[in-house]
Amino acid sequence: MADAIVRIKDLHKAFGSLEVLKGVDMDVQRGEVVVILGPSGSGKSTLLRCVNRLEEPTGGEIWFEDVQVNSPKTNINEVRERIGMVFQSFNLFPHLTAKGNVMLAQRKVMKRDKAEAERIAVEQLTRVGLADRVDYFPAQLSGGQQQRVAIARALAMDPHVMLFDEVTSALDPELVRGVLDVMKELAKAGMTMLVVTHEMGFARDVATRAVFMDGGVIVEEGSPAEVFDHPQHERTKDFLGHIS
């Protein structure tokens, strides 16, 4: 456990009277690829968003490396710098080119000089297969390309962990592949990843661990093979039966 990069202890999150997370415990080791599955409303996205405090937990603790994320004393921006996040809706900055998107936080948050930020931007965009699209604006890119720019944008910050929140759900089926390929490459390179997804193929191939959530708690977890092929719980079976 010494090498756990993210530790979640008894995490609770309620929106008003609606309790979305009802006590989640999870440790993520360095280099792990954890896939989080579950039906709509099970709290998986909320869990992910609590890790970098886009949602404020209402109870429990989240630790990232040696910092408690949900402590008021923590400078959350410093933590977020090291936690990359990719969203379902891409959230690229539409007024900036692909390169501009990847450069902005490098310049303003990491204070890299322009030349270095530009070099890294081009490097990361090349890594996600968009070397020829660096000067395009988001509106001129396909959804898949936009999502890959978003991944490059997060990677340029040298994150220690990457959070993927249903990153392929908003894509046309034929565009999903390119994004998943990039994520596979990333996993192969040893990146620690927390992935909320419905892509079972991806989960099976890439994940080191699968977590099934329902009703705000973790119902079942284990290796992808265990969870997918021999689910122990009725709810897991039910869910897997529905989507495959």
Binding site: G38, P39, S40, G41, S42, K44, S45, T46, N52, L54, N77, E78, R80, E81, I83, G84, M85, F87, Q88, S89, F90, N91, L92, F93, P94, H95, L104, A105, K108, V109, M110, D135, Y136, F137, P138, A139, Q140, L141, S142, G143, Q145, Q146, A150, R153, A154, M157, E166, S169, A170, L171, D172, P173, E174, L175, V196, H198, E199, M200, H242, I243
Partner: protein
Amino acid sequence: MGDRIVRSMRLRRAAAGALLIVLMLSVAAPALAMSTSRITIDQKTGGLQTRFTYQATADEDAGVDRIDFLFPEGFDTEDVYVELTLLDGLKRIKADYEVEILESGAVSISFDPAVPAKSNLFIEVYDVITPIAGGTYEIPVEYEAVTTDDDTETRKDPGLTVTYATPPRQEALSRWLENQSLVRSWNSVKFLNIFFKPQHIVVAFPLLFKGWLKSLSLVLLAFPISIIGGLLIAFMKMAKIAPVRWIASVYINVIRGTPLFLQIFVVFIGFRTIGIRLPDFLSAVAVLSFNSSAYLAEIFRAGIQSISRGQFEAASSLGMTYWQAMQHVIIPQTVRRVLPTMTSEFILLFKDTALLAAVGIFELMMYSQNYVARNANLTAFTVAAIYYLIITIPLINLVGRLEARLAQSEGGSSAPPKGRHKRGVLLGSGAAAPEGAPAPGLGPAVGSGPQVDFDHSAAKHESR
């Protein structure tokens, strides 16, 4: 009672008459000869119908039976008429005279009987049209003196001059236009004469230019202040602390809920009453800024809040602070979105400067009103309208183009950068779907539509 008033009025009139006589006497006081006389004119510039006034005292040794005013070349005496007052000492003498306008333009006045020696003459020659070119003109005066032994001789009253300036070019032009037959027939159409009279157009244009500059400088000063004020109030309205939000709300509602006309009076009269005294121009800038800030605040707030929450989250997830996200992500996008509405607000504010005429600010409207009042012709309003339109029409066009560009860029249908190959499959930037909504294979992208949820009409306001 009524009797007394009539009497007092009579008294006053008599006093005025006496004063006139005393004045005339004092002018001609040394009473040497006609050579001490003088000529004055009413107008200060040339090219106008004017009255010439000649004052003189007849020679001691001779009566006068004719006076000729030998107007030089260029003076138009065709339609003149003459009025004449003759005094012997303080007593008014009846004068019988005839006026003849000679071929040469000279105005000849013959007396029968002759004006007695030493009488004071006061002659007004009306409706002489002077040459446009300014300068000093000598008006030679000759008269026929009748000596006691009934001899007549022609004497001169030399060295009498009138001086006036050349009128400004536009007035000269106006006077020239006055005499053009084309202009006359144009003006014979009542509508054209009232709204498009060429003589007034040429004069009003340069005159109203000053007012136009004033209006423009008012709005050019007030608008940047309003932008700063508007941003401030917009952020106050979105503040976490409730009282700050309330202050902003009250401000916005009060300003937007009352007429600018009223606000102008509050600032110009109200402030003065409680002892705050600013120069008029500054007061005008202040009231325009107060007003526009409230409208811009709502435009900005709507603009900022129309930026999807995901933008802020993306910036935050990259470690950017609130203000970094605002400055580099939210505001630049907001500016693009609110630019058309802001431009509309600028147009409104520019037009609203006209209301300041009510409190005596000499801006475009005030100039045109004054001109109209002075000349009993509405052409100056037409000219003012043109001056307003010079600014507003291009801006109205700009708003249209900005809106089109915005719709295009947010719709994601803009062309790829120049000289590059065609873009691939294209989707708009996706709108956020509710968490976990689509199961795989349940259909295409959720966010295939453009994400333009900022309703421009919502931020616009009716004319006020």
